[in-house]
Subunit: 215 residues, 2 copies
DNA sequence: TCGTACGAGATGGTATACAAGTCCAACGGA
DNA sequence: TCCGTTGGACTTGTATACCATCTCGTACGA
């Protein structure tokens, strides 16, 4: 029922995001098509879409490779995310409903509970990452600006890749969870300036955590 | 030499931007291919690219149509542009070279000269629009953040369409040119806060001008 | 009048073929 | 030995043909 191109797109995308495809690995249309048992056409479409999102690089007549990112890229991305997500929460705050606030609070609670569990649990990090995505995604959804959502979407991909490698320090994790709580509190108070500034701090802190503070 | 798909992409894009394609007009792959004397393959690719940029809407099995925008869309777009371009000039200000500043000043002078010419001249409005694009583009270039440039790029398309219909009032035009001058002055002074706030005001003013101030 | 079935028109995908571009490696000359 | 050239393998970009499937309007039938 689903379009094959979309399925392929998602497959390749998660493969990249999971790190199953090594850095700068070539993505040959025919190979992919063969291994997926389909023709080149939908593969091409999927690759173009991924290229538009910046997950793969394509050069004319040379095909597609998994994109690479350096510290400068990451810095750019977190900078922009901090600005756009701060704007999102600024828009969201005055129009968030009580039930939406409650939803965010529930995520906070779940993340806090998960943070306390055994550090060696295999579900812990993915679970936290997933709930984190939900938290940020919900705020963007509340902001009710489809284009803002689309812009952030394109920026979020790359950091996800890193998330699988970098593990937050306990202190950073705690700070992150406190930020979430504070954001919700600010929204509850209807203070969009407060909310947006915490959000910006939240993401810039994450940037330094990921960049290792060494640049 | 150039890829046909790219050529087609640009053709359709400028057709949309020039308003040569009426609103919500259907874009049938085979018709386009036939009229351009090429096959469906590159047309498909071009349409997908345009869809990724938001210039056309595609729905599964129903094909592509020229995208439509309402006031809400425009409001969103100008909001985001005001934020992102303000950020761009904030980044650009501390690192702009003297020659880059001079380049911007030249554009200011050219626009001012052009604004004084006969209002009935056919080149006046397109000339101003073109130089305006150059001005904003140069600042983004100076900011040296490729992703920021890419994000703004995707937002700039739609307002261009409107530019061809809406004509600035003389007062608005004058304000716009003064803003440009003030932005350059702020950059020259190395004051990125000043610069970014003028930029934000500049774009929000344009928004109200285009939306007619009636919402 | 309402529902349904039908058919025209398009898209999504497959298969195949080929020109042109890229890359690499072997070859040959300085 | 080193470097430039050549040639071919490998891909991409495009064309073409074909068909299943989907959409949508319409005419038919209950």
């Amino acid at each position: 029922m689903a379009k094959i191109a979309t399925t392929v797109y998602e497959q390749i995308r998660t493969s990249i995001l999971n790190g199953e495809l090594s850095n700068a690995e070539r993505l040959v249309e025919e190979d992919l098509a063969l291994s997926l048992g389909i023709s080149r056409t939908p593969v091409r479409e999927a690759l173009r879409r991924l290229a538009a999102e910046g997950l793969v690089d394509v050069s004319p007549n040379r095909g597609a490779r998994v994109a690479e990112w350096d510290d400068h890229d990451l810095r750019e991305i977190f900078d922009l995310r901090s600005i756009l997500e701060a704007h999102a929460v600024e828009l969201a705050t005055p129009i968030a409903s009580a039930s939406e606030i409650e939803y965010l609070e529930n995520i906070c609670a779940e993340m806090e509970a998960l943070a306390l569990t055994d550090a060696s649990s295999p579900d812990r990090i993915p679970g936290l990452a997933e709930k984190n995505r939900k938290f940020h995604g919900k705020i963007i959804e509340i902001s009710n600006s489809s284009r803002l959502g689309a812009l952030i979407e394109t920026l979020v991909h790359v950091p996800i890749v890193m998330q699988t490698y970098k593990v937050y320090s306990p202190a950073a994790l705690e700070r992150s969870l406190r930020h979430h709580r504070e954001i919700v509190n600010a929204m509850k108070a209807g203070d969009e300036v407060w909310a947006s500034n915490v959000m910006r701090a939240h993401i810039l802190a994450a940037r330094e955590e990921i960049l290792g503070g060494n640049n």
